[in-house]
Amino acid sequence: MTRGILSKETIKKVKEYSNADIVVGIPSYNNARTIAHVIRAVSAGLAKYFPQYRCVIVNSDGGSKDGTPNIVKDTMVEDFNTILIEHPLYTVNKIITPYHGIPGKGSAFRTIFEIAHRLGAKACAVVDADLRSITPEWIEGLLAPVASHGFDFVAPLYQRHKYDGTITNSIVYPLTRALYGKRIRQPIGGEFGMSGSLISHFLKDERIYNTDVARFGIDIWMTTTAVTNGFKVCQSFLGAKIHDHKDPETDLSSMMVQVVSSVFNLMERYYPVWSRVSDSEAVPEFGFKFEVITEPVRVNLERMVGSFNQGVSDLSSVLEKFLSPDVLRSLRRISNSNILEFKFPKELWVRIIYEFALAYHKSVISRHHILSSLTPVYLGRTASFVNENLDTSPAQVEQEVENLCLEFEEQKPYLLSNFNAS
């Protein structure tokens, strides 16, 4: 295993701390607005719930220009007395390090894993630096199942706005659930807890960090690797997830390509595993579930439908290379409908995702072109989802997602038979 990804200063720091029981990693890039809050929540969480453990916070930064690492260095919890009954035995140490490799979250995670591995950490958690809703309880939620219950991988469970996380809700969650048979609700949530042995496993294949896994693909890779390699998996309720606001339209297509290509690549790799799975099962859950009022969000339905209509019309020469004629006919029919009655049936959506997966598997055309052409179709499905759920409650929306998952499971034989045939 190559150990050249850490800088000399970082190695020196690791040697100085010698070992740690728990490592919490925070990947960052220009998160000056929120990272202080995240650091305080993590420090308080470690001091409050793991006072007897030696803990290290690792900030793996991608070259922030807004002084993020300095904020991490200067941030501390001023007064633990207000939150603690029992005082911690050890102070929480910090390592602030730049990461090397392909710029992206995956490379930042790799650095965190490497440090956790060198420190011999028994448990490790990672949390995003742009979180506004993180509390000390998140740290307990992510680490306690590993530290006290012997789990290897803890996925997050959030209360999110009904329109939030649409790639998760319409592709990644239903597809991974149908493929691998585990109902992990937020497979690309961003916050995870892991055991030391799983960290070592993540570091085994260093070539993986030269792929889209080094970017947005890291989350689904971690979840799938944990599930398919027989690690003990659970999920933990953390409450509401609220990010720092950023324009979500910023390069939606490349984000989509990175996430979906990772899912499809993992399908290739773990075909022997998912081809034997025919239904799904719940995974153990931790945390006390409660209702949270999420912030209202603005949706530009007209723009999404416009993108879909243009995609179906202009990309027909691309889509007809791998979508069945009946699917194309259905898409054309939908694209002619009125915006207020715009409806994209879930059965059609599932079939489209499976046909994209098959096209990717068979490399019908350039794989990048296949995935890039999914964006307008995805926006059409998202617009339909918004349209259908304008007045529904979060519980009803959750039921909609559940129905979509069942549809993915029902149509899985179609994917399997065509995957076999190639």
Partner: protein, 233 residues
């Protein structure tokens, strides 16, 4: 005397046949062996192309569709085999003729042999250009559609045609056909198109361009204000 003068052409023919006969036999033998060699090569190539799934690859690259559009009923592997077969036969014929040591034939074969590499390079350049044009045009089309640019299709078509013209020019240049004419025509066409566009935007459509850019800037600002606030991941 008369008999002698009558028979002399036959004697001469016989003597010449004695000299040229083995050479003709040699030519025929080379051609026969060449045909056998070409046939065996064709057979081996068939197995090899089948093993590497050449036809599937051509399907993926869209070459089969191009052939179907051109009403070519043979499979791509069949065409490759046929090309190789006739190239070998052609080579064998040239080789066999060179054994005759006839000056005109020698000159012809040597100039043909010198021209062959240029021909193959020209064909390769054009094939490469064809696929590159297709790939780039498709990438541009998808990127523009994702950016919701309304004229995505005509832009990608223009890029496709431009790349094809560029590679066609390079191929013709390689073949050495009317070198200067092709180059000058291409330069005039491209320069003319750019100048026409510049004039159209700069003079004719000055106000229109101004209005368009203002409208565009306003729309971008408006759409930024109207952007969705939910996270896709």
């Amino acid at each position: 005397m008369m008999i002698l003068s009558f028979s002399s052409p036959f004697v001469l023919f016989g003597e010449r046949l004695k000299i040229i006969g083995p050479k003709i036999l040699e030519v025929l033998l080379i051609i026969l062996l060449g045909f056998i060699f070409a046939w065996v090569l064709k057979l081996l190539l068939r197995k090899f192309l089948k093993w590497i799934k050449f036809d599937d690859l051509c399907d993926r690259l869209g070459l089969s569709t191009v052939l179907a559009r051109a009403n070519v009923r043979r499979s791509p592997s069949d065409i490759i085999r046929l090309i190789l077969y006739w190239v070998v036969i052609f080579g064998v014929i040239i080789l066999s003729l060179s054994t005759l040591n006839v000056r005109v034939v020698d000159e012809l074969t040597s100039s043909l042999l010198l021209y062959l590499p240029r021909f193959f390079v020209a064909v390769l350049v054009f094939i490469f250009g064809y696929f590159l044009a297709k790939f780039v045009a498709r990438a541009i089309l998808i990127a523009l559609v994702n950016a919701q640019v309304k004229s995505a299709k005509p832009i990608s078509l223009a890029v496709h045609i431009l790349i094809l013209i560029l590679f066609l020019t390079m191929s013709i240049e390689q073949l050495g056909i009317a070198k200067g004419v092709v180059f000058v025509t291409y330069a005039i066409l491209l320069g003319g198109a750019v100048l026409a566009l510049a004039l159209a935007f700069g003079l004719g459509g000055k106000d229109m361009a101004k209005n368009f850019l203002e409208k565009k800037a306003k729309t971008t600002e408006k759409s930024k204000k109207k952007s969705d606030e939910f996270s896709h991941i």
